[in-house]
Symmetry: C2
Subunit: 248 residues, 2 copies
Amino acid sequence: MATPDTVILLPKRTRPCTHDGARVSCENCSVRLNSVCAALDDNEIAALERIAQPVCFAAKETLFLEGEDAEAAYTVTRGAILLYRIFDDGRRQVVGFQLPGDFIAIDADKHHGYSADAITPVTLCRFPRKEFTALLAKKPNLLQRLYDTAEKELSEARDHLMALGQRSAREKLAWFLVHLRRRSARLDAASDTVALPMSRQEIADYLGLTIETVSRTLTALARDKVIAIVPNGVKVTDVKKIERLAAA
Amino acid sequence: MATPDTVILLPKRTRPCTHDGARVSCENCSVRLNSVCAALDDNEIAALERIAQPVCFAAKETLFLEGEDAEAAYTVTRGAILLYRIFDDGRRQVVGFQLPGDFIAIDADKHHGYSADAITPVTLCRFPRKEFTALLAKKPNLLQRLYDTAEKELSEARDHLMALGQRSAREKLAWFLVHLRRRSARLDAASDTVALPMSRQEIADYLGLTIETVSRTLTALARDKVIAIVPNGVKVTDVKKIERLAAA
DNA sequence: CGTGGCTTTGAGGGAGGTCAAGCGCCGTGG
DNA sequence: CCACGGCGCTTGACCTCCCTCAAAGCCACG
């Protein structure tokens, strides 16, 4: 459903990058300041660096499925990842898009609470569970930092709930774009052009809409000169207006 | 909107219970095994007990508002609490119902991420922030436990997202009742009767529906002999069917 | 016994879903 | 080089589920 059928059957194992064997260098890490690693001292960083492995996935590859044993935690360093859950009947709810700097945690029950697909080619910093858990026990600071991250995610989940429960299609799209714009601004320089690596279907499943409604609504926003649709993204032409729509 | 206008103006301070001055006794605590306190050793419990204060609120009282300084964390020991966020224009999204055993945490940024009203008369176990944070720094076990709780809440938030994004009104209500039934089963003995301390409006704002749709849908479920509507709750008469509806 | 809050019920309308067709882009192969 | 096919996106027509507006029922409380 979400992925071509052949993909499901292949054993999906984590794979090292082509520039393999290389150790992770936190010092040069591009997401250092946006990730869970910010606010760790040199000692802690060094300890993390020792257990970290760089890994890559091609676009559309599945990193893991909901319910699987969580073998590792990750920090995304490049690309975009889709987090989702599916019903038996195929309905899918996208619960998040992970961008560079975002963390993928290990649940208390040691099983993934959602599935994850690479949207674009991605690279991640992989922390094997055993080592990571051991480190966590020794470094309360890291645990604290992880806890803060979880709280932040909870807050974002509640924003998402607001959007799904209370907003109209137009407001949902406006909120989505504003939200994404802010997140990418933290990474690159702020820009009026928001990249949309995900498909219309993925946006629809994120917002609880159909693909047709997403398409129609984006077209309508473009007609009203709030945005302009560009290849692989949109350009926000009326920031005031879209933010008013998004905030409601 | 959510509360009578006079309530907004009153300074809402935490108030001790009528049976005041009493220290908290964790040993006799009714929610001991369902709360964040489970899985703590005697030492840790004793330390928590030392900083805990019993507090009470009457029905409809506001515990705190979104954005306020978080002065304390809480464990609910009796009653039901409504967690919600509101838009400027009055729309409200209920993000959760806290029942005995549930924890109300302090965010990383030290401000409440949502507002909280007592639905029924409630009693809580209050942990002042300063002392609680200090204790957290000394007891990594407690922090770990809190982190697990946060992860569990995240998972529940994602269930909630599934419901809001993908389910029909009928499925939403079925899911809500099944969910609530499970939670109350953890507290009392399992029972076919699910107590609904919250109003129809609160259910509606939780599920992203209107009060009329909630009412109509419950009536329809009763007509179809899936449930029976009883004072302050519903009786589940066809467990199989409601669970099939809820899971979808 | 009246008043007000909460809930139910009814009638009608509209936002968004469903079904279906058409478009544009790109990779493939003749 | 262009025809073809596939995929993702857009657009249109229609319909349904849920929202809106309105009124009446129910129950607790003064």
